[in-house]
């Protein structure tokens, strides 16, 4: 579904260029759930923006569904690292925004919006403005917005980073359920190994800046997975050990 071929990204800043990503060759299969793990600043968000067609790569080529990516596609949805809510829109109106943009019939999606808000624990907050919400609540609104329509590819950038452990577990459980019911291609950036192990079919580990693909780990554990299950926890420990181990030749 997604193919990255020799992708590199260099940003030109005031204080000289920054190499964010270098020589990424990577594929994500149809309906595969891939988690991306890597140290802060290694280029995870940049990678998502490249796949989303929001940024042309400095080098290399990117394909989604067999077509080269030149601009954003409607069947690819992005949930950004920051909530990016429109400050003048109520919670509900923010969630409904993609529906408006796609010109879909609002009425038929309004119930879904309410369901999603209920699911993430924001019932009763539909009419509030973003600045009246806590950080985690804003992130949950952003999550609902990215789930309101059913894209073929979902790119999610640390979707649960501002949430408490409990809500996090609940929501990652929900995400797993949705994925089992209606499988999609998901690229999911996270800092939580536990989350990666519960959700992902495969975990891609990036090296620190410039981000290269250090390793990918297949997780062939039966679903639904829950944290605490011995095999899940075991996979988590292995992944953690891998991450803590010194880098080989790729280390900066």
């Amino acid at each position: 579904m997604i193919v990255l071929d020799g992708v590199a990204q260099v940003f030109d800043g005031r204080a000289g260029p920054v190499q964010a990503l270098a020589g990424i060759d990577f594929e994500v299969g149809e309906n595969e759930f891939v988690a991306i793990i890597g140290r802060s600043g290694c280029g995870k968000s940049t990678l998502l923006r490249l796949i989303a067609g929001l940024l042309p790569p400095t080098r290399g080529r990117i394909f989604v569904g067999g077509e080269p990516v030149t601009r954003p596609r409607r069947d690819v949805s992005v949930m950004f690292q920051r909530p990016a809510l429109l400050p003048w829109r109520s919670v509900l109106a923010n969630v409904m925004l993609p529906i408006e943009i796609f010109g879909l019939e609002r009425k038929s999606y309004r119930d879904r919006a309410h369901e999603l808000l209920e699911l993430v624990g924001l019932r009763g907050f539909e009419k509030r403005l973003p600045h009246e919400l806590s950080g985690g609540m804003q992130q949950r609104v952003s999550l609902c917005r990215s789930l309101i329509h059913a894209p073929a590819v979902m790119l999610m950038d640390e979707p649960f980073s501002a949430l408490d452990a409990l809500t996090r577990t609940e929501l990652s459980g929900e995400l797993q359920r949705i994925q089992l019911e209606q499988p999609r291609t998901v690229v999911f950036v996270t800092h939580s190994i536990e989350e990666a192990v519960v959700l992902a079919d495969r975990v891609a580990v990036l090296t620190p800046r410039p981000g290269r693909l250090r390793k990918t780990v297949d997780l062939a554990l039966p679903r639904p997975r829950v944290p605490g299950r011995p095999d899940v926890d075991q996979a988590g420990r292995e992944l953690r050990d891998l991450l803590t181990a010194p880098f080989g030749e790729e280390a900066t």
């Binding site: 929001l54 954003p72 949805s77 992005v78 950004f80 990016a84 429109l86 993609p98 943009i101 600045h131």
Partner: protein
């Protein structure tokens, strides 16, 4: 902002009037130069109906021209924001048009458009389209990159990017432009009336000027000030209705 909110502006205006009055007395300024508020009120009371009628003429020109500026200026600003090419090409033209003193142009407008409302409205547009364009364009350009990227990620059309995002984001700044423009609009209408009109407060000012009836001229200018202030607060009210989300929480 209810009843209490109206007290302070009134205090401010009263203070201004008091100062003016005091100045005319203390510096014993001649009436033909600067009449006292009492003279001005007396002048108004001589011809209240006539003066209000003339005010309505000026008001109509102002509102027509101002509305037209919005209708012309906001799409122009969008074009400018959309294409840096258009921006670089259009801006200097706009600037050149804006740089010409309108009083110097007014006679040409009269020759072209005759003595009716036409040239007045055109002049109002010429005077106030620039602040509308520049503030709208600046407001739309300052839309946070992350929100623009959000809409782009959905492959939103340019139109959607403008109307669902940039325009809404720019509203507070657009209102700053409109507030600057509305005063200019009033002045533009008056200037136009200086040149070839037989009605309107500008005409009253010219006519009173011709006979050094400074009190009458000041009465007309006071009416202009009231009109201008009322229009400004009308805009401010509209702004509060349209941009209710607290200003600082952007």
């Amino acid at each position: 902002m209810k009843a209490r909110g109206a007290v302070l502006p009134v205090v401010g205006v009263l203070a201004l009037i008091g100062l003016w009055w005091l100045a005319t007395i203390v510096f014993s300024i001649e009436k033909f130069l600067v009449p006292s508020p009492a003279d001005v009120v007396a002048s108004f009371l001589e011809l209240p109906g006539y003066l209000l009628g003339q005010s309505l003429v000026t008001l109509a020109e102002t509102i027509e021209g101002f509305s037209l500026s919005i209708v012309v200026g906001i799409p122009l600003a969008m074009l400018i924001v959309r294409s840096p090419l258009l921006e670089r090409t259009f801006y200097p033209i706009l600037l050149a048009m804006n740089a010409v003193p309108k009083i110097a142009v007014a006679p040409i407008l009269v020759v072209w458009f005759g003595f009716g409302q036409g040239p007045k409205v055109v002049l109002v547009v010429l005077v106030c389209v620039f602040p509308v364009v520049i503030s709208t364009a600046s407001g739309m350009k300052s839309t946070p990159h992350e929100l623009v990227e959000l809409l782009r990620s959905w492959d939103a059309s340019r139109r959607q990017e403008f109307f669902k995002l940039r325009f809404r984001h720019a509203l507070p700044q657009i209102f700053v432009g409109l507030k600057v423009a509305i005063s200019l609009a009033v002045i533009g209408a008056v200037i136009a009336e200086f040149v070839g009109a037989d009605a309107g407060l500008g005409f009253v000012i010219v006519q009173s000027g011709a006979s050094a009836d400074t009190s009458l001229a000041f009465a007309a200018m006071t009416l202009l000030a009231i009109m201008s202030i009322a229009l400004f607060y009308g805009l401010a009210y509209l702004e509060r209705k349209l941009v209710p989300w607290a200003e600082e929480h952007r």
